[in-house]
């Protein structure tokens, strides 16, 4: 994380172990410098909308993808997703839910709120690493996001 204008991926994750493993996998694929981390739902929203301690910051325009956990303190993932997709400043940013849950109601509600992809974290580390690497490659390198202009 050298300069904030290089931030392309917002990782919203509260579990320190999952965070370390995700960052490790992203690091192996050389995406470390483009990643910004929010440790709960509220921090994610403040970062995205330049509010609270992050007022004045504007990362939304540069983001190519948001990796969002669902079970988060303060503001849960679905609520964060609702705010992102309900605000003209952020609704075009691709959001990928990256969670432990395979529950149908989580999947259905995420898609109803407009999620762009839903990925269940594999338990096995190799598969987890590979999944995260794929996500990074796909959303940061291959996918063409829309230009967000206000």
């Amino acid at each position: 994380m050298k300069r904030s204008d290089a931030i392309k991926l917002l990782l919203v994750e509260d579990n320190p172990d999952d965070l370390a493993l995700t960052l490790r996998a992203l690091g192996k694929a050389n995406f470390s410098s483009q990643v910004l981390v929010a440790r709960d739902g509220l921090e994610a929203v403040e970062l995205l909308f330049g509010e609270g301690v992050h007022s004045g910051r504007n990362i939304a325009e540069e983001l190519k993808v948001i990796l969002l956990d669902l079970k988060l303190p303060k503001l849960d993932g679905l609520e964060v997703l609702r705010r992102i997709k309900g605000d003209p400043r952020t609704k075009l940013i691709p959001v990928v839910v990256l969670t432990s849950s395979k529950e149908q109601r989580d999947i259905v509600e995420s898609y109803q709120l407009g999620v762009n992809s839903y990925i269940v974290k594999p338990v096995t580390f190799e598969r987890f690493s590979e999944t995260v690497r794929h996500l990074g490659c796909y959303w940061l390198l291959h996918n063409q996001p829309p230009k967000i202009s206000e």
Binding site: D18, L21, R24, S101, K102, E103, F125
Partner: protein, 428 residues
């Protein structure tokens, strides 16, 4: 209330309006005998009939006995005066008045038939109607007890004189039974409501439980597996081979538990998912399931025979899961055969379709067959055949939810056959 019993609506009488305000819906019983039309004279015993006096005595005796022993009250009235001509023992006992108290009195003087004929004028109406019926008439006995009766009166001619015959059936016991039944029905409904609420609660709890399992139980396993791997990657050089093996064992344990959690969640989801029944092309789903197992049978020689498979009614996704699990099992336990032989088919027993999957695999000891379909029950060592022991439990759950059953036959080292039905059969 049975609707099979015959009803005998009076042929000439237009629909008789029920006079009693508390009459219930008509209950058809054999009691609804058609009235004898007033015009049809009942012949008086008379020499002109050509019957001997002995024959007439016999006939009189027969009908007298009928009158005396009837288990319904019978009251014979003079249609002109409303006076009681005769009363049978049953009515005397029922109401607790003596024969003398009845005889020679007009019906409206008796007191208990106020609702039928309160006075001479009302009585005239009764007579003119020729057929009157009350489903439900409360009467009071001499000792003040309330009895409920069904009341029917008919008018006919005897030797040129009009007679009114009143039949009085004690329906107190029936009414009591009906009331008890109604009460029971209310209680039953309340109990069903309560049980349903309890069931919904239990279901919600189960859902919350598996939701929590789904979210929270996988994360620590990911940490155990991931950081063990991280140690191997980052510090593997510093560890002796035995230490590396131990880390690998830790990882296997974590991964196995991940599989167990996944299977357990899949199993519990089956109980909650709604059943979307429709017509299913069995052969199509069997072929689809077989195609999905391509990876599992890669590089093996498997002789598959599919017999005639009739269509069935069920949830296509769940039924496909049944076939997937049974076929996957058959492939797994024939793994050590040079040539695996699988047979899929359907038998018709007593009109019920019984589907089966047969293999020439390792089989199992039938003595343990009762454990076969339990969750996490395993028949083989983990090092021989992998698995969590949920596959057949899932099969059983799905089959049972369709109203059918599943069972197996097997011989150790000779193979196994799994059968299932999707509807009730004679053995279920």
């Amino acid at each position: 209330m049975s609707s099979n019993e015959p009803t005998f609506d009076p042929p000439q009488t237009p629909k008789v309006p029920l006079l009693a305000a508390h009459a219930d819906a008509p209950i058809p019983t054999a009691f609804d005998r058609p009235p004898t039309a007033a015009g049809d004279e009942v012949a008086a015993p008379d020499a002109s009939t050509g019957r001997s006096s002995a024959e007439l005595d016999a006939s009189e005796l027969r009908y007298r006995r009928l009158f005396e022993t009837a288990q319904d009250g019978i009251l014979i009235l003079d249609a002109e005066t409303g006076m009681v001509d005769d009363v049978n023992p049953f009515l005397i006992t029922l109401l607790g008045f003596s024969r003398e108290q009845f005889l020679g009195k007009a019906i409206w003087e008796l007191g208990f038939f106020k609702d039928v004929a309160a006075n001479a004028q009302k009585f005239a109406e009764l007579r003119d109607k020729e057929y009157v019926r009350y489903e439900h008439l409360p009467l009071e006995t001499s000792d003040g007890r309330r009895v409920e009766v069904e009341f029917v009166s008919n008018v006919y001619l005897v030797a040129g004189a009009k007679v009114i015959q009143c039949n009085v059936r004690d329906i107190s016991a029936r009414r009591k039974a009906e009331e008890a039944l109604a009460l029971l029905r209310v209680e039953l409904e309340a109990r069903v409501t309560l049980r349903t609420a309890e069931l919904l609660d239990a279901n919600r709890e189960l859902e919350a439980f598996s939701y929590s399992v789904s979210h929270d139980l996988r994360a620590p396993l990911r940490a155990i597996d991931g950081f063990s791997q991280a140690v191997l990657e980052d510090y593997g050089d510093l560890l002796p081979a035995a230490g590396q093996d131990q880390l690998k064992t830790i990882r296997r344990g974590a991964q196995k538990m991940g599989c167990l959690i996944d299977d357990l969640l899949a199993f519990s989801q089956l109980s909650r998912a709604s059943l979307n029944k429709r017509a299913v092309n069995t052969e199509a789903i069997v072929r689809a399931a077989w195609a999905e197992l391509e990876a599992q049978r890669a590089g093996r020689i498997v002789d598959l025979r599919i017999g005639a498979l009739p269509g069935c009614s069920g949830d296509p996704a769940l039924l496909k899961q049944v076939w997937l699990n049974l076929l996957s099992n058959a492939l797994k336990y024939t793994r050590k055969r040079e040539q695996a032989a699988l047979e899929i088919g359907c038998l018709k027993t007593n009109g019920t379709d019984t589907f089966f999957v047969r293999d020439n695999g390792t089989g199992f000891d039938l003595r343990y067959a009762d454990k076969l379909f339990g969750v996490f029950q395993r028949f083989h060592r983990a090092e021989d055949y992998e698995g969590t022991g949920v596959g057949l439990a899932i099969v059983q759950r799905i089959v049972q939810r369709h109203g059918g059953r599943v069972w197996a036959e097997a011989v150790v080292d000779r193979g196994a056959t799994f059968y299932f039905t999707l509807e009730k059969d004679d053995c279920s």
